[in-house]
Symmetry: C2
Subunit: 156 residues, 2 copies
């Protein structure tokens, strides 16, 4: 394996992502029929106020493109875990809202998936190392989050 000094960290980063992701994705798929991205979206919606988020914001936080979110949510909507909601103050925006079934689904998936993450990923590090890792990774560019995301006129 080519591990020139400077590239070492980058290569390992790529490999680690491929391996861990494949493992976790497989488990999540067989146990719950969800993608990692599906789960990621469900997490965000679950913890969002009212279980609801604008699609654009969702796209920005899970790092998908707008069209990516459309297609992903298509799937979750077909499964009945998410629905659309119109925005009174701005007819362009559509909210993605977790349904009751979606809440249930997420809570079911959460338990095993967290355990899987812990087993495949987290358990390899001490708490201190985990923080270090999080801090280091946090320095990487997480997309240009223009802070225009101030929840504007949103009432229902």
């Amino acid at each position: 394996m080519v591990t020139e000094p400077e590239l070492g960290a980058w290569i390992r980063f790529l490999r680690a992502h491929a391996a861990v992701t494949r493992e976790l994705s497989g488990r999540l798929e067989t146990q719950h029929g969800l993608t990692l991205s599906d789960f990621d979206v469900l997490v965000q919606l679950y913890y969002a106020p009212d279980h609801r988020l604008r699609r654009v914001d969702l796209a920005r936080t899970v790092l998908l493109t707008a069209s990516g979110i459309t297609r992903l949510l298509d799937g979750l909507e077909r499964s009945g875990w998410v629905t659309k909601a119109r925005c009174d103050s701005d007819a362009r925006v559509t909210y993605a809202v977790l349904t009751d079934a979606g809440v249930t689904k997420f809570e079911a998936a959460q338990a095993t998936h967290r355990a899987d993450i812990e087993q495949v990923f987290g358990s390899r590090f001490t708490d201190a190392e985990r923080s270090t890792l999080a801090e280091l990774l946090g320095r990487l560019p997480l997309a240009e989050t223009s802070p225009a995301c101030t929840g504007e006129g949103e009432t229902a």
Copy 2:
């Protein structure tokens, strides 16, 4: 953003990969018409003895499936950067060999891509941090590399 303590590192890992990967992949694509995986494969071949590697081994080190490698190499072959070579001692195996054009292509791509990696990824860390990161990431499961990869009767 949901950043529960235990999941923090994992979430950042996912996000960081998505963001950095997208950026680097975009640059590599527009500058050289290559995928990150394409480049990864070219690196491995470039530094391999004789610029040649069995497809299975290639698949294992870059963490693609066998079919993934087939299709990826299809592309590189069509572009003339890689060719197939039969193995005398075992008719099942096919080698992937870098052509002269492939060597040139890689050397051209390497320069700018390394700089891009450094800029987007590496420059955010000190040397010490880089080692720490590499060490931590290195603990993650890098696929079950069954050590059967001992270069057997290969002379051709």
